[in-house]
């Protein structure tokens, strides 16, 4: 009788392992075979790194309910911009100055800086291209890497 029970358990486990493993193997094969490009742009391309100002572990129910209200900031209410129903367009320096509550000169200077920031990355690519080193072409260098490279050190590994 004991032998039969062990056989029954062995069979149940075997079915679980056998079909679980096959499901995993064939699921992986199917994903590799029929699904392509199922990922979005990584955060490092847009410097989207979070800086946590508050970390609380082991919250109880009341703390869970209150956490978002206590530490969440509604920064969108501080932003001034065109109405939500308006089609998106390039704003003039005057409009940017109006919405940002700054001077037109300041708005123009900020725009120039924004474009310069983007174009600096073009130059890095151009110089790398000229040197024949196209490693990391699809990711911009972060500040740390730029400083590292400026020091003339070689062999910087990408994150």
């Amino acid at each position: 009788m004991g032998i039969y029970i062990i056989d029954l358990f062995a069979l149940l486990f075997a079915i679980g392992v056998g079909f679980g493993l096959s499901c995993w193997i064939l699921g992986t094969l199917l994903e590799n075979s029929n699904s392509f490009g199922d990922n979005k742009g990584d955060k490092r391309y847009y410097k989207a790194y979070a800086k946590f100002s508050t970390r609380k572990d082991g919250l109880n129910t009341t703390e869970c309910n209150n956490f978002c209200y206590s530490y969440g900031k509604n920064i969108s209410k501080d932003s001034d911009g065109p109405d939500g129903q308006e089609p998106v367009r390039k704003l003039t320096d005057e409009e940017i100055a109006f919405y940002n509550h700054t001077s037109v000169e300041e708005a123009a200077r900020e725009r120039e800086e924004r474009i310069k920031d983007l174009e600096d990355s073009f130059n890095i690519w151009e110089s790398r291209n000229a040197k024949g080193s196209l490693s990391g072409v699809f990711a911009k260098l972060d500040e740390e890497e730029q400083k590292y490279n400026q020091k003339g050190k070689k062999g910087v590994s990408r994150r």
Binding site: G72, K73, F138
Partner: protein
Amino acid sequence: MATLCKNCSHALVFNPETQKLECSYCGSSFKAEEIESESKKYRQDLQAESMDTIYGETDGKYMDCYVYTCAECGGEIIINGSESSTNCIYCGNPNVVFSRIARQKCPDYILPFSITKDKAVSLVREHLKKGIFVPHKIKKVNIDYVRGIYLPYWLINAEFSGAVVLSGQVQEGKHTRTYYFGRAGDINIKNLPIDASKMVSDESTARLEPFSMTRLKHFDEDYLAGFYSNVTDITYSDLRSSALKRAEEYFEDEAIHDCHVDNPKIIRAYPSIKLNNDLIYAMLPAWFISFKYKGKHHTILINGDTGKVVCGIPWNKILFYSLLIGLGILTTAAAFFLFKYTLPLVMAAGRSRSGSKSGKLIAYLVVGIIALFTTGIRKVVKVVKNIKLTQDRDTFNFMKKRQG
């Protein structure tokens, strides 16, 4: 209107391989920035006329249809409300609707196509050929349409602030306990591309990323020659919600990684975003390739810069399930003999000492089996989701409605 060859006045077409505008008639080639077209100023004032105006309708019967005249043959080109370049249906020459990219509406940057039409098709064929579960008919399928389209994007700088509460399991000796964690913080995002076209789903276009922004060029309409393009048609509220969604994903991802727990789940969130009003308008390249299988249209997207293929292909279900059952039976048989001889040993060991070790082993086994099942099923669901995105009617219509 088309940019014409200086030597023979034939329409020029941009070649992604040489990154030059080429004349198919006399073989001349020019760099886009070298071409100084005297008529550019004049062309900026040309307007596409609404069909309603032409046919004297006032009830918006021909809504979103505009008529433009081909510079080469004088034929009528019909375009929708957001198209900015197309090909003439009569002579096949490229035409740019200048009024839609003039002055304030002009994009700041453009990322020219680097992948040629042939390369895009061969990349797709390569992927299809490799797939073991891709039905034989799809491997040899006739491609219906191939369209190179410049998609409009807004590159945004934004400040994100978020607070999340997440639950996760922590191993404590023999037991696992669920704990709750709170994380609050900010993200400063730089140059995040947000799809500015209502007609294509954000989910599809986000998958085309990354684009190599380091290769952006100052906008020149000559890069559009030979390709289709659309201008922005989204509202500020669309832009804000798309940016918020993306930033929230990044924040939640980092919060989850910061907690180091098993089975993390976001249970509460308070996201908020502030967009910089200074937006950069760019056109980024994508190839749309479509084919028909079992009465349904499938549209494969290819990043026109990096060649990244985005799609989900229907699978050969008979082959998949026969392999699943076959492999399942084989591994079950092997596992049965393994358990048949090892289980008595495990149980005997449990009886002689404390039963906790054998019990633990069995518990691990059960958890392992469940994990294998769920991972496998999750992968299948991922493919199904991707297939649905590839079958999206809006994406197909967005591409199909182009002339030429």
